[in-house]
Symmetry: C2
């Protein structure tokens, strides 16, 4: 797969070694994350909203109520910036200055586009469910036309996309390594816990295998 | 403490019951989170960047290299939107339509301002270290004037701020509750793991008690 093309705004001005433009890296970050932060410009000012997302090849999907201000702006073809971040660790260095976080992030710039066709909307929404719990779409009653109509789905092409990554131990000034202070990394991760059945669950229904289990979230696992 | 004043853009147009304007709720979300997503407008287009932040009363602080494009824009007094999100659960409902996420988020609008005074910068940076590892600032060699100069620190007043929260089990259509499908919540949380000592750690230095331990991150704990 070819790399994403670098543009002025996806090229890092500093810390060039943290930049990544290969699709494997960008895809892996997007597929591990559960939420993104979408930025749009409203009346000249920035607005950043957290929301769910999913990916199909080089297309990112977002959805929400057709009545939501964000979804309406995105359906109208807003210029957007979608950012996805995974925090991996607290980097405790030997000087305050070299403290850092380990992380993996993706930034995507582009104009969103409404998914208008009801069948394509259904297909996209089903992909989202597959990501969360493979096979669950078929276990549920079919989505009604009214529900599909009430759900706004937008796509954003992965064209102007890039990743930024920091990993590893602190990088201290050479003369600080002998300081009598502890240094290292505190790993941080997002994990699922044991599922909590709905208090109104019909007695006798047990948790199926496709519900994400305790541990790191694995899309479609 | 008085609530934050509602403004046009912090008032929810839908799902009003998810909105919160009390300081206790906003503070608690900000103090639990480790990163925020900062939105600014560059050449008319939105840019969203993940970064660390910390809070002191009604002031939010951000920092970064004085050479970073984001920090330069924020120091110049950019109109910003800072969003903080905590994902709490995957809500598996009896219809695709009612699937949701449990989350707590805060959105802050305002103009950032450079912290110019070196002593105030030091004080702010020390507060950030206190949040991560109380007492560590004193254990490290003092930050040099050059390091303070090379670090851009900006403040954003908590004035136009609000929180949005979803908790609890799925809310299904009444007629779906008898469907023979599992429903419930998969809890999700960010947690620290066991600290990994720097491979170059001087032998004999043990991990001090102020390094965050395994489990949920507790600021300044």
């Amino acid at each position: 797969m070819p790399d994403f093309e670098k543009t002025k705004r996806t090229t890092l001005k500093r810390l060039h070694d943290r930049g990544r433009f290969d699709r494997e890296t960008v895809y892996a970050i997007l597929d591990e994350a559960l939420i993104c932060h979408v930025g749009i410009v409203v009346d000249g000012a920035p607005v950043v909203i957290p929301t769910a997302f999913w990916r199909d090849a080089d297309t990112l999907y977002l959805h929400g109520s057709s009545a939501s201000r964000l979804i309406r702006a995105l359906e109208a073809g807003a210029e957007a910036c979608v950012t996805v971040s995974l925090l991996d660790g607290l980097v405790m260095a030997r000087s305050a200055f070299h403290h850092s976080f380990n992380y993996r992030s993706v930034v995507i710039f582009g104009r969103t586009e409404a998914v208008e066709d009801a069948a394509e909307k259904r297909r996209a929404l089903r992909l989202f469910m597959e990501r969360l719990a493979p096979g669950r779409w078929e276990e549920l009653r079919p989505a009604t036309d009214q529900e599909i109509k009430g759900t706004g789905v937008v796509r954003l092409g992965l064209a102007e996309a890039s990743a930024k990554i920091r990993t590893g131990p602190p990088i201290d000034d050479e003369e600080d390594y002998e300081d009598p202070v502890w240094a290292g990394v505190v790993p941080v991760s997002l994990a699922c816990g044991a599922a909590q059945p709905d208090p109104r669950l019909t007695p006798g229904i047990t948790e199926p295998a496709n519900i994400p289990g305790p541990g790191p979230f694995k899309a479609g696992a």
